[in-house]
């Protein structure tokens, strides 16, 4: 089920009703949420429920063992194995095809053609997210930050909780498991926040992001050489807005749904295009991923504790893997490389520490946009054509319309709003009576439905 569909809406309402009916019975409540999460996941493809369950049970069992052991070589081995198996599963499903294709390419060029096992491995939805959560579970237990005695239901629910299962945010074991110890308590401000986040997320996704994608970004990125300068420039800005709205919308809806069910997830985006340096950017963009990489990859590698050379190496490895995590393609790796290079350069020149001006904001934004071209383009040739093929640069505007330009400006303009505007609005809303809120909510739903495009955009080309 995709979030912005009626099917999910009905599903969520049913789950919401039953969950709060089971109010004080925490055990049954968690079991209900677990079953609901598997129904949600099974809706995509029932065959992968088995994999999800196996991954969750495996991580729980390993966590039990590791948590009850003392510091020893065997314990270290078990931790290593657990992480390896999680990554192995992710690696197989996500990167097998990429690996085989490139191996075939390489062998072909060397003249050593082989009959390689060309399998079409179907990517289980959300595997990037739930394997990372599994690894978080193991490592948080190892560090003593999470309780290894957590029950099986708790652990399984942590890994497969439906709001964050498919598109994040990547929730940490130490943040979520304690919340499962007792039945949550509702507060009106939290409910208001949840409602606002869901509505705002739906608007960003179905109105801003979809419109920009279908009207401007997709057509220009298919054949960039055919388009003029203005179309191409606005397609890049448009994509920056689209990917921000798309991603942050899913996170917002996830956080909102969790809030309505009584659980708290951390913010995942914080007006990222306001960043005045790359270091700042990664504190604002996909926060759950960047903190995960920082805590579980960068710091264990040594972080910035070693000399400049080792810091640089650690940073680059982290960014390259972060890039590759987004998808099995060289362009994602290149995107990670650009960000890594930018971070390294910042560090080397001490830019992050010096006073940052609006110029830094503009420059950071544009380098981020340059990297987005690589992220979005299906291959290097398209990205190269996009950036360097000036033969049609004088072409008149074909795709950009006043509305699309307006949406791009709006998307960027959102970053000028007060950073904690939604919280303030939630506090205000909490004081209103329920019919008033219902009127606001209903109007918002009707508005969103009136503006959105009919049908759901197909995942033709990329899927996280």
């Amino acid at each position: 089920m995709l979030f912005p569909t009626l099917t999910f809406g009905v599903f969520f309402l049913i789950v919401l009703s039953f969950t709060w009916a089971l109010d004080r019975e925490n055990g049954r409540r968690k079991l209900l949420l677990l079953i609901a999460s598997y129904v949600f996941y099974g809706w995509w493809d029932w065959r992968f429920c088995g994999l999800l369950a196996a991954s969750s049970i495996f991580n729980w069992a390993m966590g039990r063992m590791i948590g009850s052991m003392r510091e020893s070589a065997l314990r270290a081995l078990l931790i290593f194995l657990a992480i390896l198996i999680n990554l192995g599963v992710l690696g197989f499903f996500k990167y097998y095809g990429f690996f085989i294709e490139n191996l075939a390419l390489a062998l072909g060029q060397l003249g050593w053609e082989r009959d390689l096992p060309l399998l079409q491995i179907i990517l289980p939805v959300g595997i990037s997210f739930y394997t990372f959560q599994g690894i978080s579970y193991i490592i948080d237990i190892k560090r003593g930050e999470a309780d290894h005695r957590a029950g099986l239901v708790d652990a399984m629910l942590y890994i497969s909780f439906f709001p964050q299962l498919v598109a994040g945010p990547i929730v940490r074991a130490r943040d979520f498991l304690p919340q499962l110890d007792s039945a949550p308590v509702l507060t009106r401000p939290a409910i208001s926040l949840g409602l606002l986040l869901i509505l705002w997320g739906l608007f960003k996704k179905t109105v801003i992001a979809s419109e920009l994608a279908t009207g401007l970004v997709d057509p220009v990125f298919y054949t960039p050489g055919d388009f003029g300068g203005i179309d191409r420039l606005f397609a890049v800005y448009g994509y920056a807005v689209q990917i921000y709205c798309d991603f942050s919308a899913y996170s917002d809806i996830a956080i909102g749904c969790a809030a309505l069910l009584g659980y708290r997830f951390n913010r995942n985006f914080d007006q990222p295009y306001r960043a005045r340096s790359f270091q700042d950017f990664w504190r604002r963009w996909h926060i759950s991923l960047s903190t995960w990489l920082r805590d579980y990859l960068y710091k264990p590698l040594g972080g910035s504790r070693g000399g400049n050379a080792s810091t640089g190496r650690n940073l680059m490895i982290t960014m390259l893997l972060g890039g590759l995590w987004h998808g099995a393609a060289w362009t994602f790796l290149a995107w990670g490389f650009i960000h890594g290079l930018a971070l390294l350069t910042e560090r080397a020149m001490g830019l992050a520490r010096s006073g940052r001006s609006v110029i830094s904001l503009v420059v950071t934004f544009h380098i981020v946009c340059l990297a987005w071209v690589l992220f979005r383009a299906p291959d290097f040739l398209t990205a190269w054509t996009y950036l360097t093929d000036w033969s049609q640069i004088g072409e008149p505007v074909r795709r950009l319309t006043p509305l699309l330009a307006g949406l791009t400006v709006l998307g960027l303009g959102l970053h000028a709003l007060p950073a904690r505007g939604i919280e303030t609005a939630a506090r205000l809303m909490a004081r209103l009576r329920s019919p008033t809120i219902a009127l606001i909510t209903a109007s918002a739903f009707i508005l969103i439905d009136a503006l959105r495009q009919p049908g759901v955009a197909p995942f033709i080309y990329f899927q996280f």
Partner: protein
């Protein structure tokens, strides 16, 4: 969750158990009224959802029921606000740069013409 002070207070549970029940009641009122309002003022989305599924006894039952509901709501004119918004939005989508360059009155006339079908990309 401690690194987000702006949100902390929103989730702070009240000491009083009664507040939790009141909040729950408040939420259930909101949900019920919202569902009724949306069903009344935007029934066409339900109908479209039912229509998009392959026909079977269950789907057709839902669809035809929703169809009757939609007809009645439309008769009462409840779909007018939504349709008006969609029409204005489509008009806005079909505005081109050339239209803006002309003077306001001519631009208005263009914007209210039947818009071309949106280029589905």
């Amino acid at each position: 969750m401690s690194d987000d002070p702006h949100r902390d207070d929103l989730f702070d549970p009240s000491e009083d158990e009664i507040d939790h029940h009141r909040a729950r009641l408040w939420l259930s009122h909101i949900v019920v009224i919202t569902v009724v309002l949306v069903a009344a003022f935007n029934p066409v989305s339900l109908e479209r959802w039912a229509a998009s599924n392959p026909p079977s006894w269950g789907v057709e039952t839902v669809r035809l029921t929703v169809r009757v509901w939609t007809d009645r709501m439309q008769l009462a004119g409840l779909n007018t606000p939504r349709d008006w918004i969609t029409a204005r939005w489509n008009a806005l989508k079909s505005v081109r740069w050339e239209d803006l360059e002309q003077d306001d009155s001519a631009g208005e006339a263009e914007a209210t013409e039947t818009p071309p079908p949106p280029a589905q990309g």
